[in-house]
């Protein structure tokens, strides 16, 4: 399925190019972090890659095939977790059921991931009464249970306190270690430094920079990137 190739992708709404002619390759392996200020189009780009939105022009190609339907083995974790009105465990098995995993295997796999993210004690509790951090970990567990080839994360820690943020980052690392490609967006420089292998820097809907993480922070190739790293990029 990977690499994921974007060819001159644009997303225009009401005359405004929210994504403006972006071309890039996302290969299996490196943890990709999409970095940029608020309003730069990170969320929209993630949704285009995941298939929730369709580009108004350009192509998104998985593994060499033309994209005529969403490929499987992808999952996404959103900034605000959406949980169903049922137990934490049931939320995870729900995703597995949708993916066609046989009933016997579902619960076993669900408990596996809940254990891995540290939510076993609350497995039977209604998911919607869990704290924000717990729900986000649950969302990660739900995605991880599907053993996706690619995991998209859209600013997953933007609403979490530092403790929960650290836990989420640890889990993302483990998911990567288990063989999943990570594509994550953030506006937090420290987080990008901690988690990324490569950086896609976005500004005003365009891809302003695409470089390995060390290189990006040491020698940003654009003025905007440099300003952003120094914390000077104005609100768009």
């Amino acid at each position: 399925m990977l690499p994921l190739i974007l060819e001159d992708v644009s997303f225009v709404v009401g005359g405004r190019a929210i994504i403006d002619r972006i071309s890039c390759d996302l290969a299996a392996g490196p943890r990709t972090v999409i970095l940029g200020p608020n309003g730069s189009g990170k969320s929209v780009l993630m949704r285009l890659c995941h298939g929730l939105l369709t580009p108004t022009s350009g192509r998104i190609v998985w593994g060499g095939n033309v994209d005529d339907g969403r490929p499987r083995a992808q999952a996404m974790v959103f900034q605000r977790p959406v949980m169903l009105r049922r137990s934490a465990l049931a939320n995870v098995t729900y995703g597995l059921a949708l993916a066609g995993v046989p009933r016997a295997k579902r619960e076993r796999r669900a408990r596996e991931v809940l254990d891995a993210v540290g939510l076993m004690q609350v497995a039977a509790r209604p998911a919607r009464v869990l704290s924000g951090g717990e729900q986000q970990k649950l969302a990660l567990a739900r995605a991880w249970a599907l053993e996706p080839e690619v995991l998209f994360l859209d600013e997953p820690t933007a609403n979490l306190d530092p403790g929960a943020t650290r836990e989420v980052e640890r889990i993302v690392d483990e998911i990567h270690a288990s063989g999943t490609k990570i594509v994550m967006s953030t506006h937090n420089l420290g987080q990008a430094r901690r988690l990324a292998d490569e950086i896609l820097f976005m500004s005003g809907g365009r891809l302003a920079d695409h470089a390995p993480v060390e290189q990006f922070f040491a020698e940003p190739s654009t003025g905007e990137a440099a300003s952003f790293i120094k914390g000077e990029l104005p609100w768009s």
Binding site: R47, H50, L52, R70, R72, A75, M76, F78, V82, L84, R85, R86, S87, Y94, G95, L98, A99, R125, P126, A127, R128, V129, R142
Partner: protein
């Protein structure tokens, strides 16, 4: 006064419940999936359909009764079925009356839920049918209220059942038509008494639903 008519009174109350509960059950089976489909799918003419549905929520019962009567009359297209002046005809009329209410109100509930759930469900690969089923289950508490609204409408109406049922004693006489009859006979105390019983029955059903809801919320959140 009421207690003297005990056997008949029970019969009337049970028939009222039988007719209304059956009608609401049919309306729910048809209306909920319809509401879900309208909430999730986008298609040409959707706005027209929504406006029509909302308007149909206010269908006058007596108009529904008249239309169903014309359909079921021997002189009408479905006369062969011999359904006029039977409880079945009353169920049909009330089901037609209540379906738009359940479809319209559930559509609103489900659309609000869809705004919240859409991205996540699509991300997990849910087909529209699977998504609809999930939404229906997740909004079940609000949907109970929707169904109760439909029940209330059916239990209260007299215009439809009196035309298609004929208010035949022992066969199609229900609480509302009995109240109507006693009022026109001038026996107002009896009519009022029957009215209080009807209100009490509806109240009890709503109370029971609330108890079930509270217990479920405690269990499932």
């Amino acid at each position: 006064m009421i207690f003297a008519a005990d056997g008949t009174l029970w019969g009337i109350v049970l028939l009222s419940l039988r007719v209304t509960v059956t009608a609401v059950a049919v309306a729910t089976v048809v209306g909920l999936p319809l509401g879900a489909a309208l909430a999730i799918r986008r298609f040409a003419g959707r706005h027209v359909l929504l406006v029509t549905l909302n308007a149909l929520m206010g269908l006058p019962p007596v108009v529904v009764g008249l239309v169903v009567y014309l359909l079921l009359s021997r002189a009408g297209p479905l006369g062969e079925l011999g359904l006029l002046f039977t409880p079945t005809a009353m169920v049909i009329a009330q089901a037609i009356l209540v379906t738009p209410i359940i479809a319209g109100l559930s559509r609103q509930v489900l659309e609000d839920a869809w705004h919240e759930y859409e991205e996540q469900l699509r991300s997990l690969g849910a087909t529209p049918t699977a998504a609809a089923a999930t939404l229906l289950w997740d909004t079940r508490y609000s949907l109970v209220t929707v169904v109760l609204a439909g029940f209330g409408r059916a239990a209260a109406e007299v215009g439809a059942v009196i035309i298609v049922g004929g208010n035949i004693e022992g066969v199609t006489r229900v609480m509302t038509t009995a109240i109507s009859l006693e009022t026109s006979k001038g026996d107002l105390p009896l009519a009022l008494g029957l009215g209080l019983i009807l209100v009490a029955v509806v109240f009890l059903i709503n109370a029971a639903a609330q108890v079930i809801k509270t217990a479920a919320v405690r269990r499932y959140g």
